[in-house]
Structures are given as structure tokens and as C-alpha cells.
């Protein structure tokens, strides 16, 4: 008897909760993410990276050395207590340069994803929602962009735009639009036929309102997962452009650019090539693990695999 009452109370309570907190999807996602150790460690690592980026920007004096100061008497010093990661071909402290480079890589990743995601969502929504000729036109353009390997397309854009990290962000944003457009279009096609969208149409909502109020919130979670993984590939692409000498202008510090410039000294001072690459890999790994964690948290089915 008691038990039945308890269950009934529980049910009514959870119904109440459900009615009161429509955002509980996010809470349950967080609860499930919290159990994923790899994702939580990655999240902590990313928070530390953000702190490093912010603190070195505001208080550059916390760095052990000036990341831009050249000293030709101190080139290729082996890592020691004074120069933790050694010094590079111009006698600059590699540790300080990697710390400063955090800001470049993180901002490139975040800005590139923000731009390409926004444009991808716009094109994908238009294609998926309006269908017909608009759909085929937009998706044909996306197909064309997808049929050129993205790094090659990005390099070609860089040739047209000129060198520089801002141009690299534009190039990377442009080449990743199709990916988002495709995902959003697919999701919208599957959500579009739901009763609540039809109902909104019946009561005379405008297309823009239907897309923003009824459709996009339902595809938001998959966009967030995609964006997290997108940051990691944007950072990889940016480092590749930097490695090819198309990224930042000297003396700015960027991880890929550091590798590209130290490459000629690979046998003389291999340690100059270890740490910048490690920084790229760990950052990319963290965003990948967090993205995987978010995906599992959103879709419990995928966890079995």
C-alpha cells in the first residue's frame, strides 16, 4: 500500500518536474556527461587552456620568458630548469611561445566553428525547410565544395586571400560550411514532418518563426556535438596551414607555424619539434573526447558501441 503511494507520489513529482523544467534535457545530459571520466578530464583540460589563453593575454609577465625576444647566443638550448621546453632557432623560450600560442589556436578553433556553423545552419535550414529548387541549388554547391579535399581548398583560398591568421580563419570557416549544412538539413527533414511543426503551420506561424522556435531547438543538441568535434578539426586545419607557412606572420607564436619553422633543424634539435606538436595533439584530443562524451550523453544508444 505504502509502496504504491510512494510510486504514485514519485510519478506525480516527476510529472511536475517535467512540466516545470523544460530544460531538464540539459541537466540529464550534464548528469550523464559527469559520469564519463575521459570527457570530464578533457573538459578540465580545456578550461585550463582557456585560463592560460586569458591570463597570458592580460598578464604576460606570468610567463617565465618573453615569448618574442630573440637571443642569438641562446639558440637551441636543451630543455632544463630555466628553459623548460628549450629554446628555438632564434633563441626564444619554447614554453612561453606555446603558452601564448594557446590563445591563437583556441580562438581560431572557436571563431572558425562559430562562423561556419552559423552559415551552415542558415543554408541547411533553408535547404531542408524550403526544399525543392532552393534545396537542390544549395546542396549542389555543398557537393561541389565537398568534392575538393578541404585542406587543398583551404590552401587555394589562402592563395587568393593572402597570408595571415585572420585569412586562415576565413578559409577554414568556408571549407567546413558544407558539413554543418548537411547535418542541419538532414535533421530538419526528419523534424519537419512532426505534428508540432504542422500544428505551428496550421495556426499561421511564419516560416522564420517555425525554424527558430520549433525546429532549431530540436536539432541544437546534435549541432553542439558537431561543433565540439568541429573545433578540434579547425585547430588541426589551422595548424596545418601554419605548418605550410600560410598562418601567422612572424614573430607571432602559433603551434603549427612553430613546427613549420623548426622543421629544418629536425636532426640538430628534435626537442624544438616535440612540444608544439604535443600541444596541438592534446588540445585536439581533448575536444574530440569531450565531443564524443557529449554525443554519448545525448544519445544513450551510441554508448553501446
Amino acid at each position: 500500500m505504502d509502496k504504491t503511494q510512494d510510486t504514485a507520489a514519485e510519478i506525480s513529482l516527476s510529472t511536475q518536474e517535467f512540466l516545470e523544467k523544460p530544460e531538464s534535457q540539459w541537466k540529464s545530459m550534464w548528469d550523464s556527461l559527469k559520469k564519463n571520466k575521459a570527457a570530464m578530464v578533457s573538459l578540465a583540460f580545456i578550461i585550463i587552456l582557456v585560463l592560460i589563453a586569458v591570463i597570458t593575454a592580460i598578464f604576460p609577465q606570468v610567463l617565465p620568458h618573453d615569448p618574442y625576444e630573440q637571443n642569438m647566443t641562446k639558440t637551441f638550448l636543451f630543455p632544463d630548469g630555466r628553459y623548460w621546453f628549450g629554446t628555438d632557432q632564434l633563441g626564444r623560450d619554447i614554453f612561453s611561445r606555446i603558452m601564448v600560442g594557446t590563445r591563437v589556436s583556441l580562438s581560431v578553433g572557436v571563431i572558425a566553428v562559430a562562423v561556419s556553423m552559423t552559415l551552415g545552419v542558415v543554408f541547411g535550414s533553408l535547404a531542408g525547410y524550403l526544399g525543392g529548387k532552393v534545396d537542390s541549388f544549395i546542396m549542389r554547391i555543398m557537393d561541389i565544395m565537398l568534392s575538393i579535399p578541404s585542406i587543398l581548398l583551404a590552401i587555394a583560398f589562402m592563395a587568393a586571400l593572402g597570408q595571415g591568421i585572420d585569412k586562415a580563419v576565413i578559409a577554414i570557416s568556408l571549407v567546413s560550411i558544407p558539413e554543418y549544412a548537411r547535418i542541419v538539413r538532414g535533421e530538419i527533414l526528419s523534424v519537419k514532418e512532426n505534428d508540432y511543426v504542422q500544428a505551428a503551420k496550421v495556426i499561421g506561424d511564419k516560416d522564420g518563426r517555425i525554424i527558430f522556435r520549433h525546429i532549431l531547438p530540436n536539432v541544437l543538441s546534435s549541432i553542439i556535438v558537431r561543433a565540439t568535434l568541429g573545433i578540434s578539426s579547425a585547430i588541426l586545419d589551422a595548424s596545418a596551414l601554419g605548418f605550410l607557412g600560410l598562418g601567422v606572420q612572424p614573430p607571432a607564436a602559433e603551434w603549427g607555424d612553430m613546427l613549420g619553422r623548426a622543421r629544418n633543424y629536425i636532426f640538430q634539435a628534435p626537442y624544438t619539434l616535440i612540444f608544439p606538436g604535443l600541444a596541438i595533439s592534446l588540445t585536439v584530443l581533448a575536444f574530440n573526447l569531450l565531443g564524443d562524451g557529449l554525443r554519448d550523453a545525448l544519445d544513450p544508444k551510441s554508448r553501446q558501441n
Partner: protein, 338 residues
């Protein structure tokens, strides 16, 4: 099936036309004037003007595009701004190097990716499974060029057992043939040259294959896990068929369908990755060549390379789709109707 194939081939035409247009727009319309780059900043105005006239860069832009398309259809991509050699000749001299590297990489990635994926699916949640998971994570997180650098530091700088650059020692280079050195040296029976070419290939192959290996391993694992949970596998097991046979003949054959798609897509992405790998290992293929040409504003070459790579890429995707339809009759029929 034939009708579907023809339809798909016809659909390639607008895509390739679009690719030409995009490349043309980027290189000819939005890019800065190549004349000062090619002739040097200090060339006289008259010289630059004459150079532009000679290369048709003063014609109306629409004409330039039509000319480019007309010539491209006959395989004529003009001449390089620097060497004055036909672009097709320059590309063909380097294409075999890239093809050889890409084929080695995709073979390596497919064989080991499928193998690792199957083993980790069958031995789910064991040490092997965890090791392959970690390997796959590293594979997708490490920049190709850094992996290449690490391999050079280890095998060339420290152990001194593998050459860090090039395709073969100059004196062993095979003359004529296909340009695929492994094939050429093997068919001519020159085993010393074959060994040297193989040694040069090991590190670039590993670096280029790592990302695809990771993707193929993950895909195989999840596809195998899906299949192993099917009723017909349980039926097969309950009939007393050996575990090995069940995995090989019943599960893997069905799991191969999505795996084929991934392998095909990866082969396409390898062509992009080749740009970086070739730069690291000074591999004389079209990837590193394109990077140099973009930096030097050698537009005819860049247009041709991007168009050729895009053609190869969409053709591979088409072949993958056809294999897919062949492996899974259900897809074939539903697509033919549509």
C-alpha cells in the same frame, strides 16, 4: 544497375563543372595579379603587360573561363608560368609518386584497420579493445605532419634505419615504366632498387595512413558489434558453427558494407592528406608541388591539379556507391526506382 550507373555518371558533369568554376573564381577572379610574383616586383609595367597578354590574362574573364573549360576537356591545361612546360606534362611527372603513396597508405589502413576493428569487436572490453581505442583516438588527434616529424626523429635521426626524404636513391631510379617505383623495380627484377624504394615508402605510408586507420578501425568495430548482435549470428552459433567461421563468413561479410563506404571516403581524404605528408618527407608528388605552385601563383597548374584531384575524388565516391549497391541488393533496387 546499368541505368543507375549511367545516371550517376551524368550527375558528375554538373559537379565537375561547378568545381572548375569554383577553382577558376578563386584563382583568377579573387587572387591577386600573378604578374609581379612571376616576373618579380621590379619588372617594368610594359613587361608585365606583355606577359599578361601572352598568357591571356587580359581577355574578358568569361572568355578566359570558356577557354579554360574547352582546353580542359581535351586535357590541355596550358603551360606553367615558370617552366613553360605543358601543365599536363608537369603533373604526369609527379602523379605516379602520389598514387603509389596513396595506394600503399589505403592498403595499410584498410588491412590493419579491418583486422584491428574485428579483433576489438570480438574481444570487446579486453586489453586489445582498449589498445585499439586508444590508437584510434591518437590517430584522429595527431596532426599528420607532426606524426611524420616524430617518425623522422625516431627512424632517421635516432635509429638511422630509414631515409627521411625522397622516393629512391638517384642512381637506383628506374627509367621509364609506370612511374610506380615498387612496380617498375619488381617487374624489371631489380631487387636492390625495390628494397630501397620500399624503405623510402615506409614512413610516408605510416604517416598518411594513421588517420584513415583510426577511422576504419572504429567503423569496423561498431559495424561488427551491430552484426554480431543479429539473430542470424546467434542461429549460426547455435548450429555449432565454429566461432572463427561465424566471424569470418557470417558477420564480417555483412559488416563490410558500411566499412567499404568508409574506406572509399578515406581514399579520397588521403589525397588531401598527401599535401602535408609529401611536404614533410619531400616526396616528389603532386601534393607538395601544388603547395609550391599556390605560393608562386602558378595558376594553370593549381587549376589543373585541383580539377584532377576532384575528378578522382568524385569517381572514387561513385565507384564506392556502385560497390555498395552491388554488395547490398536492397539499396540497388530502391535507388533504381528513385
Amino acid at each position: 544497375m546499368i541505368k543507375y550507373t549511367i545516371k550517376r555518371i551524368l550527375l558528375l558533369i554538373p559537379v565537375l563543372f561547378g568545381v572548375s568554376l569554383v577553382v577558376f573564381l578563386i584563382m583568377r577572379v579573387f587572387s591577386p595579379d600573378p604578374a609581379p610574383v612571376v616576373l618579380g616586383e621590379h619588372a617594368s609595367r610594359e613587361a608585365m603587360q606583355a606577359w599578361r597578354n601572352a598568357h591571356g590574362l587580359n581577355d574578358p574573364i568569361v572568355w578566359q573561363f570558356i577557354d579554360f573549360l574547352k582546353n580542359a576537356l581535351t586535357g590541355n591545361f596550358g603551360t606553367s608560368y615558370y617552366t613553360n612546360q605543358p601543365v599536363m606534362k608537369e603533373i604526369m611527372a609527379r602523379f605516379p609518386a602520389t598514387v603509389e603513396l596513396a595506394i600503399c597508405a589505403i592498403l595499410f589502413a584498410s588491412v590493419f584497420g579491418v583486422l584491428l576493428g574485428v579483433v576489438s569487436a570480438v574481444r570487446k572490453n579486453t586489453a586489445v579493445d582498449y589498445a585499439s581505442t586508444i590508437l584510434a583516438l591518437i590517430g584522429v588527434s595527431m596532426p599528420i605532419f607532426w606524426l611524420g616529424i616524430l617518425l623522422i626523429i625516431l627512424f632517421s635521426g635516432t635509429l638511422h634505419i630509414l631515409p627521411s626524404t625522397g622516393r629512391i636513391q638517384p642512381m637506383l631510379q628506374p627509367v621509364g615504366g609506370t612511374g610506380l617505383y615498387l612496380w617498375d623495380t619488381l617487374t624489371s627484377g631489380d631487387f636492390e632498387a625495390f628494397g630501397d624504394a620500399a624503405r623510402h615508402l615506409i614512413m610516408p605510408t605510416l604517416a598518411l595512413a594513421m588517420y584513415s586507420l583510426a577511422i576504419i578501425t572504429r567503423m569496423t568495430r561498431s559495424s561488427m558489434l551491430d552484426t554480431l548482435n543479429q539473430d542470424y549470428i546467434r542461429t549460426a552459433r547455435s548450429k555449432g558453427i565454429s566461432s572463427h567461421r561465424v566471424v569470418k563468413h557470417h558477420a564480417l561479410r555483412n559488416a563490410m558494407i558500411p566499412i567499404t563506404t568508409v574506406i572509399g571516403l578515406q581514399f579520397g581524404s588521403l589525397l588531401g592528406g598527401a599535401v602535408l605528408t609529401e611536404t614533410v618527407f619531400a616526396w616528389p608528388g603532386i601534393g607538395s608541388y601544388t603547395v609550391q605552385c599556390i605560393q608562386k601563383s602558378d595558376f594553370p597548374v593549381v587549376q589543373a591539379v585541383v580539377l584532377i584531384i576532384a575528378t578522382v575524388y568524385v569517381l572514387i565516391n561513385l565507384i564506392v556507391d556502385l560497390i555498395y549497391a552491388f554488395l547490398d541488393p536492397r539499396i540497388k533496387y530502391s535507388k533504381e526506382e528513385g
